[in-house]
């Protein structure tokens, strides 16, 4: 009787289960939503450039002589009807042409893409620091909330969440950069190729340079991760399945690592997605303080210099990344928690 529909334990038949329509449907739906969102963002950007204010100034330096302006106006198709302009805009968008920077004269998108690896490095480093320190601390304070260490960490996180990130940056610069002279406070270190990509994390000098900015960037997400993990774990610990697991005679360690962690995995993954967004936003501040050559610093310079094409390009780029990250987070959640795909409707 046990031969009927014999399948090997766990493992291989997992894919037939995931072959269920439900999860796949959910993922496809989310991808479609993401795409729709990107289209909506492009329309918003279009409106921002072409409908608000003088579109000419968004794309061409307004200080140019009138004939240049007139010619540019024609070239840019500003005399065409609005929908045609939108189509032109999208056409350019798909070809990666988002205008040229006033300040440097380079193509806006190219500028951003060239600076992106630096920001990516910084963001990943900060993310690593925040999760590697944050999740274990969050689990610890969730389990031992009333201990002295637990309560101390709790208070510290409240403090960390209140402080603006630039303030921490300044403090770090003062303490480590100027007083102790341990770590450099500006710029990115030397890069070396790692799997074909130039990254500063591969060199000791690069690591020294990325240390302070990554730490600065990680502070706020660290506090957020600790708080959310702690809340999730606390909720878990009181759950019946923990008591039941104890009744089965399981060791606390196994209960924590397998049962509790699995339960908090979904909220944690969601938190990580949120944190990524925070990192993207705050990278602007950190890059400014530490003179890190990334997209954030580029954006601030563009804003201060009213370099519209770059500003628009930066916004579109950031929003796209945001949407993609959120999509990935949703997909991961659906994979971890089999109930998610049946619950979420759009």
């Amino acid at each position: 009787m046990s031969r009927s529909g014999a399948r090997s334990p766990a493992g291989t038949s997992c894919w037939t289960r995931w072959g269920d329509d439900i999860v796949l449907n959910f993922i496809l739906r989310r991808i479609a939503q993401g795409a729709a969102l990107i289209v909506a963002m492009s329309m918003l950007a279009f409106v921002a450039i072409f409908a608000l204010g003088n579109p000419l100034t968004a794309l061409i330096n307004p200080a140019s002589p009138p004939e240049v302006l007139a010619r540019a106006s024609h070239e840019l198709g500003l005399d065409l009807p609005l929908y045609a302009q939108y189509l032109r805009f999208v056409f350019h968008l798909l070809h990666g042409d988002l205008g040229t920077s006033y300040i440097t004269g380079e193509p806006a998108l190219g500028l951003i893409l060239s600076r992106f690896p630096a920001t990516f490095e910084l963001t990943v480093s900060a993310m690593l620091v925040a999760t590697v320190i944050g999740i274990p601390l969050g689990v610890y304070t969730g389990v031992k909330a009333s201990s002295l260490l637990g309560r101390t960490i709790g208070s510290v996180t409240i403090l960390l969440i209140s402080i603006p990130s630039f303030w921490v940056g300044l403090a770090l610069v003062i303490v480590f950069g100027i007083e102790l002279r341990v770590l450099p406070t500006g710029g990115r270190g030397q890069t070396e190729a790692w799997f074909g990509i130039q990254t500063s994390l591969a060199t000791w000098d690069g690591l020294r340079h990325v240390a302070l900015p990554a730490l600065n960037l990680a502070v706020f997400p660290l506090a957020v991760i600790i708080r959310l993990t702690r809340a999730g774990v606390q909720e878990c610990m009181g759950a019946a399945f923990v008591t039941f697991a104890r009744a089965k005679g399981l060791a606390m360690r196994r209960i924590l690592f397998v049962y509790v962690l699995r339960s908090v995995a979904v909220p944690i993954v969601t938190v990580v997605g949120i944190v990524f967004g925070i990192l993207l936003a705050f990278s602007v501040v950190t890059e400014t303080i530490f003179s890190w050559p990334g997209t954030g610093r580029l954006a601030i310079e563009a804003i201060r210099g009213s370099d519209r094409p770059v500003i628009i390009a930066y916004l579109l780029f950031t929003v796209c990344i945001f949407i993609v990250v959120n999509l990935l987070v949703d997909i991961m959640c659906a994979l971890i928690d089999p109930r998610m795909s049946t619950q979420a409707q759009g």
Partner: protein, 335 residues
Amino acid sequence: MSGSAPDVLVVENLRTEFRGSNGVVAAVDGVSLSVRRGEVLGLVGESGSGKSVTGFSILGLVEPPGRVVAGRVLLQGQDILRCTEAEMRAIRGDRIAMVFQDPMTALHPLLRIGAQMIDAIQAHRRLGHREAWVEARDALGRVGISAPDERMLAFPHQLSGGMRQRVAIAIAMLNHPEVIIADEPTTGLDVTIQAQILAQVQKLAAESGTALIWITHDLAVVSSLADRVAVMYAGGIVEQGDVADVLDRPAHPYTAGLLASSPSRNRAARRLPQIPGSIASAHAAGGCRFQPRCGYAVAACGQYPDLQEIRSGHAARCWRIGAISLPETMEAGRG
């Protein structure tokens, strides 16, 4: 199934206290009971009587603000309340197992059934994954679950309530424990499913000789399943004895009241009598806890009664044993 079989589990004067904002409440107050090998003991009581806490106290699963403060729990003669946490871990799930009331919350929602069962096995025995898997699958078959191979790979939310509870029972039986404590396992289940599960459990217990403590509020379940019964009220045992004795000839007013208000015994379709009042004020009064609601209370009830033996194996905690008279319909209805 009474007789000369030795006691597997003996609880002596167990007392568990909860510290609350109103002071200290003894949820379990001087409870003593015992089960023999292969015997089914029904622990009956209403919500708030402390029957679930008794079960948790035996296994050392009472969390703060609760604490076991006094008493002994003898498993094959050894007092397990004195054990270290590591020793208790070895006992839980292996020598004493527990079935929880709500399998939906007791089973982890994100882990497959098979994984949770294999966990229970591997916590106590050095068994390879393959062998553990086979044992778990066979256990599922024994509790009457069809297509056990597929069920092993399922998640709890994919099973029906009755099946989930069978899984919980299967988990309890995996390591062939000496005692199983079942905390209202059929509450909330369909009556027909309930009957099936009860029959299954009875068969399993008889086959394996496992002692069973079945906690419930339902007298009908007790009458069909248990060999002996202990009635709890407000943290204390007010009557205990063989099922036939207690249910036919209850000696405590509370037991009588429970029986009288039980619909399944109401053959003449009369209006059901009720026990007036509620359990809430029970702990406040000194003396007999049931006194505020008791129709037989006299002045002597101001003093907490001892457990007095009425006949062999049947005892009740009441000053007025013998004063109880059941309506004729009760006696006539019991065929």
